[in-house]
C-alpha cells in the first residue's frame, strides 16, 4: 500500500511539474502535420531524405523562410512491399510545419527530384492538425497498398 501511495505521489508531482513547464495554450505554436508518400528508385534513409527536404526549403525560401516554416520530420518509414514488382520503393512519412506555411512546404516537397543520386517523387496525401490524424492518413495508404499486393498475389 505504502509503495503504491508513494508512487502516486511522485507521479502527481511529476504531472504538476510537467504542466508548469508546458507552454500555456495561448502561446503554443499552431502546427500542421503533412502526411506524405514517396516513390523512389532505391530505398532512401530518413537522414538522406531530411537533408534533401532541408536543402530544398533553404534553396527555395532562404534562411528566413526556412526558419518561419518550422519544418520537422516526425517519422518516415520505408515500405518494403512495393507493388508492381519493379525495382521501385515506397515510403510514407509525417512532416510538421507552421500552420500558415503549408503551401510553401508543399512546393518545397514537390521540388525534390533526387536524394543522393536516387530519383524520387513526393506526394502529399493530406494535412492534419494532429499527429494522430496524420498517422491515420498514412495508415490508409499503407492498407491500400497491402490490398493491391494481396490481389496481385492471388
Amino acid at each position: 500500500m505504502k509503495m503504491k501511495r508513494a508512487k502516486c505521489k511522485t507521479q502527481n508531482k511529476f504531472c504538476v511539474l510537467r504542466f508548469a513547464l508546458l507552454l500555456p495554450p495561448t502561446l503554443r505554436e499552431r502546427r500542421r502535420y503533412l502526411a506524405f508518400e514517396l516513390i523512389s528508385e532505391r530505398e532512401i534513409d530518413k537522414r538522406e531524405l531530411l537533408k534533401e527536404i532541408r536543402d530544398s526549403i533553404y534553396s527555395l525560401y532562404g534562411d528566413t523562410g526556412a526558419s518561419e516554416s518550422k519544418m520537422w520530420l516526425i517519422e518516415y518509414s520505408k515500405n518494403e512491399d512495393a507493388d508492381g514488382g519493379t525495382d521501385r520503393c515506397r515510403g510514407v512519412g509525417i512532416l510538421r510545419c507552421a500552420h500558415n506555411k503549408v503551401e510553401e512546404v508543399r512546393a518545397a516537397l514537390a521540388c525534390i527530384h533526387s536524394a543522393s543520386g536516387v530519383r524520387l517523387g513526393i506526394r502529399v496525401i493530406g494535412i492534419s492538425g494532429t499527429i494522430k490524424g496524420a498517422s491515420r492518413l498514412t495508415a490508409t495508404v499503407k492498407n491500400e497498398k497491402w490490398k493491391v499486393q494481396k490481389s496481385k498475389m492471388l
Partner: protein, 231 residues
C-alpha cells in the same frame, strides 16, 4: 467544393524515354489525374501517329506530338503533316521567328516556350497576343523549376512571371504541365498548384490551368468554332 478533372498535357513515354506508358498511367491515376497526354517527339515517331495506346486507356491517355523544328518552313510542314491525325499538337519554341510562326498558326494546340535551355525565351507581348487570337495555349513547364537550382531557377521563375503577366493581360490560355520523363517527375495536382504559386499564379488560376483549359483543348472546344468559320 466542386471536384475538378485534372489533366497533364505533356508527358513523355516509351519511345524517347525508358518508361512504359502503363507505368505512367498507373502513377497518374493514383495521383488523381483524369487524363494525361503522351506527347512524343516528332523526330522519334517520324510521320507516324505517335505511341500506340491500348484501348483500355483510351479515355485516360491521349496521343500527342511535340514538334521541335529548326526553321519556319520545317515547322509549317510538320504541323500540316500531323494536323487531324493526332489529338494534340505541341510546339517547342526556339527563336523569335519560330515562335511567331507557331503562335500564328491555329492548328497548334499548345506552345511550349523553352524555359530550361539557356537561350533567350523569345516570347514578347505581341506574340502572346497572337496566341490569344489563335487559341494557342501557353505552357508553363514545371519540370524546369523542379530540376533546376539557384540562379537557373531564379531566371526561369522570372521568365515565367513575365509571361504570366502577358497571359493575364491578353487573356491567353495558360496550361500547367509536368513535362515528365519518368514516373518520378510526375507531381500530384495539388503539388502542381503549389509550384505554380512560386511564380505568382493564384490558386484559382492554377486550378483552371490544370483542369478546364486542358480539357477544352483536348475537346477542341475553342478551335471548332474557328474551323466552321473557315469552311
Amino acid at each position: 467544393m466542386p471536384t475538378f478533372k485534372f489533366f497533364d498535357l505533356n508527358v513523355h513515354a516509351y519511345p524517347e524515354t525508358e518508361v512504359p506508358v502503363e507505368e505512367l498511367i498507373r502513377v497518374a491515376r493514383r495521383y488523381g489525374y483524369a487524363g494525361i497526354a503522351i506527347t512524343s517527339y516528332d523526330e522519334v515517331v517520324k510521320g507516324k501517329e505517335g505511341v500506340q495506346l491500348p484501348p483500355s486507356v483510351a479515355n485516360f491517355a491521349f496521343r500527342g506530338i511535340e514538334i521541335r523544328a529548326k526553321s519556319v518552313s520545317e515547322l509549317k510542314r510538320r504541323i500540316r503533316l500531323y494536323y487531324g491525325k493526332v489529338p494534340l499538337i505541341v510546339v517547342r519554341g526556339g527563336s523569335k521567328e519560330l515562335n511567331e510562326a507557331a503562335l500564328k498558326n491555329p492548328m497548334v494546340d499548345v506552345f511550349a516556350p523553352p524555359y530550361g535551355e539557356h537561350e533567350k525565351v523569345g516570347l514578347t507581348h505581341v506574340l502572346v497576343r497572337y496566341a490569344a487570337e489563335n487559341d494557342v495555349a501557353i505552357e508553363f513547364n514545371l519540370n524546369a523549376i523542379i530540376h533546376s537550382r539557384r540562379s537557373d531557377r531564379a531566371r526561369i521563375l522570372g521568365k515565367m512571371r513575365e509571361i504570366l503577366k502577358f497571359v493575364r493581360k491578353y487573356k491567353a490560355m495558360p496550361v500547367i504541365t509536368s513535362n515528365a520523363r519518368s514516373i518520378y517527375d510526375l507531381r500530384a495536382p495539388r503539388e502542381m498548384v503549389a509550384l505554380a504559386s512560386l511564380f505568382g499564379m493564384q490558386k484559382e488560376e492554377a486550378v483552371h490551368a490544370l483542369s478546364d483549359i486542358p480539357e477544352g483543348i483536348l475537346e477542341k472546344k475553342w478551335k471548332k468554332r474557328r474551323e466552321v468559320e473557315i469552311i
